[in-house]
């Protein structure tokens, strides 16, 4: 059973987390995700969980680290500058192989930037903004409904892989209210956690640690992490396609931008242009193989982001020169309008410039 209701994206993140059994929230206010700690402060205690407003994002992520050590499902949320402050802590969580969920409701950057929408933290999320060879399993919702369900899923994946999972949302998703069907109960699987530090009653002592002073041993940890990431690549790739079958050009976009692109596909189809949409839902693991498939079927790709070109690198690595990859991006809280994107689509289909190293140049040049 499910109830159809209106919900804000930030609220959906809270409700999805609690439904998935999250019982610890540690966070610090920052726009545009303030509703998350605010809802958490009343809903978490009601669910029998813990809410702590930390003194900073650095403290938040380290509280999450400690709380995750107990094996309880826990999370923190923030927005761009706050997530930057968490990078050391995230690297520790990954290194200590702790399950935890981190939500980034991205805003405009760099620096203080503004509180409007952005997607320029893609690299930070998927390449690892912290030090060392770790990866965050990264999920990108495109609707309030997915804010709910992907947040819930994030907890399962975090537990399954003992790895931090990031939900990469944005200011629009966080702030918008839309219709959502909330299930009465969601399926979730919490594995046993014999490694948790809960007191050594009836067992040997447990240690949570990411310090391995002997290089051989630290390399072994790294190989173990890499093996885990390989498993994620095998099992956790998620994506969505819309009208790609007969498309000559496929838009590649995630999150809010993919919604805009869906509108563009419909607009383009009305003009008789065969355009489709490929939407990565997991950003790491990136859906490289299906994208390569599109490339091999001769489809042109046009990546649209609210950044100056970040995911476009993963798209290019996926297709490895097998098709042309164009890019169109806006930034600083500017949202590419469907008609702008459509112009770009027309250009590209007319053989207009398509970028081959867009990641290194200005969107203007690329989009010309």
């Amino acid at each position: 059973m499910a109830t159809k209701t209106l919900m804000k994206g930030n609220e959906a993140i809270v409700k999805g987390a609690i439904a998935a059994g999250c019982r610890g929230f540690f966070g610090y206010p920052i726009t545009p995700q303030n509703e998350i700690p605010e809802y958490m402060s009343s809903l978490m205690p009601k669910a029998g969980g813990v809410f702590v407003q930390a003194e900073s994002e650095v403290a938040s992520i380290n509280m999450v680290y400690g709380a995750a050590c107990t094996g309880t499902r826990v999370m923190t949320t923030s927005s761009s500058p706050g997530i930057s402050l968490m990078q050391e802590g995230i690297s520790y969580i990954a290194g200590a192989e702790l399950p935890a969920v981190i939500v980034n409701v991205q805003r405009g950057g760099p620096g203080l930037g503004n509180i409007a929408v952005g997607q320029a933290d893609y690299f930070q999320a998927v390449k690892g903004g912290g030090h060392g060879d770790y990866k965050l399993l990264t999920l990108a919702p495109w609707s309030v409904s997915e804010c709910y369900h992907l947040t819930a899923l994030a907890f399962d994946l975090a537990d399954k892989y003992r790895n931090p999972v990031m939900v990469l949302a944005d200011a629009i998703l966080g702030q918008m209210i839309e219709t959502i069907e909330v299930p009465d109960k969601i399926e979730t699987y919490i594995p046993p956690k014999p490694w948790a530090t809960t007191g050594r009653k009836n067992r040997d002592k447990n240690i949570i640690n990411s310090l391995w002073i002997v290089p051989q041993v630290l390399e072994e940890l790294n190989l173990k992490l890499q093996a885990k990431y390989a498993l994620m690549i095998e099992h956790e790739v998620r994506y969505d396609e819309y009208k790609v079958e007969d498309a000559d050009l496929v838009l590649v976009a995630y999150g809010t931008t993919s919604r805009l692109c869906k509108t563009v596909v419909d607009m383009a189809r009305k003009e008789g242009l065969n355009v489709g949409l490929f939407r990565p839902i997991s950003l790491f693991p990136f859906p490289s193989i299906p994208l390569e498939g599109l490339a091999e079927r001769g489809k042109k790709l046009l990546v649209v982001e609210m950044s100056h070109g970040q995911m476009v690198e993963d798209v290019r690595l996926s297709v490895n020169g097998k098709t042309s990859v164009g890019f169109y991006g806006r930034s600083g809280g500017m949202v590419p309008t469907p008609s702008e994107i459509l112009n770009q689509v027309r250009d590209t289909l007319n053989g207009g410039s398509s970028c081959s190293c867009c990641c290194r140049t200005r969107s203007e040049e690329v989009s010309r």
Binding site: N62, A68, T197, G199, I208
Partner: protein, 245 residues
């Protein structure tokens, strides 16, 4: 018939400490382990190690242990204790860890009255990284980053952690001790026990500042380092109980 009247506490592992000869980290570890034994806490203890010379403390204790990032032990402890209010949680921190990079976490866990216990090793230097100036380095003392001696005009004044925290309403127990004499050793253990008991009684944040040594970075013999604490350090860092409620 003779029997053992002093032996290695159960809560201490068999591993040899990696500390330098004469370093009091080992003494304080043992005292903590003794108190854990005496209060029968081992099965519900989660200890938090700092980044500093005592970074390997998880190898020395027999209870569950967590390695925190530099300075964040109180935040990590908060995370554990909030989720498991029935556990016993202590953090062990050096002066660089607690009073420099971890200042905010220290103050706020104290202000929140977080029901955890902190053992704070004040040796006036960054031992592990090679004897740099710590927030607790005394004026005039030479370190590798104040080779001419700490000059307040450049590096400011040492921070007295007990005094600083005493203005807060959160802490239940704040004390400073120096395990450098028979009496000092007894008082150190008593303070640690009292601090731990506060947590068991649900009274909130407790902290014991231990005036400790670093013969290596101080370039002193162990015995001289103890004398220096007794004669000089305690002048600037008076011993005693600052909060007890």
């Amino acid at each position: 018939m003779t029997q053992k009247v002093f032996e290695r506490p159960r809560a201490l592992s068999e591993n040899t400490f990696s500390y330098c000869a004469g370093c009091l980290h080992g003494v304080v570890h043992r005292l903590i382990a003794e108190v854990i034994d005496e209060l029968d806490l081992m099965e519900r203890t989660v200890g938090i190690c700092p980044v500093g010379c005592s970074v390997f403390m998880y190898d020395y204790m027999e209870c569950d242990m967590i390695e925190a990032s530099h300075g964040r032990a109180p935040a990590v402890a908060t995370g554990v204790k909030r989720i498991l209010p029935g556990s016993f949680v202590f953090a062990y921190q050096g002066d660089g860890d607690l009073a420099a990079i971890g200042t905010a976490e220290t103050i706020h866990s104290a202000a929140r009255g977080e029901n955890i216990s902190v053992v704070f090793i004040n040796n006036g230097t960054y031992g592990m990284t090679g004897g740099q100036m710590a927030p607790t380095t005394l004026v005039g003392a030479k370190t590798t980053t104040c080779p001419e001696g700490r000059d307040p005009a450049i590096a400011g004044y040492p921070i007295k952690v007990c005094e600083l925290l005493s203005s807060l309403d959160g802490p239940s127990y704040i004390a400073r001790v120096a395990p450098v004499s028979a009496g000092g050793l007894a008082k150190t253990k008593a303070a640690i026990k009292k601090a731990f008991q506060k947590q068991l009684d649900g009274k909130g944040f407790s902290l014991v500042e231990v005036l400790s040594n670093c013969p290596t970075q101080w370039n002193m013999s162990p015995i001289d380092s103890l004398k220096w604490i007794e004669e000089t350090a305690t002048k600037h860092y008076p011993l005693g109980e600052f909060v007890d409620r």
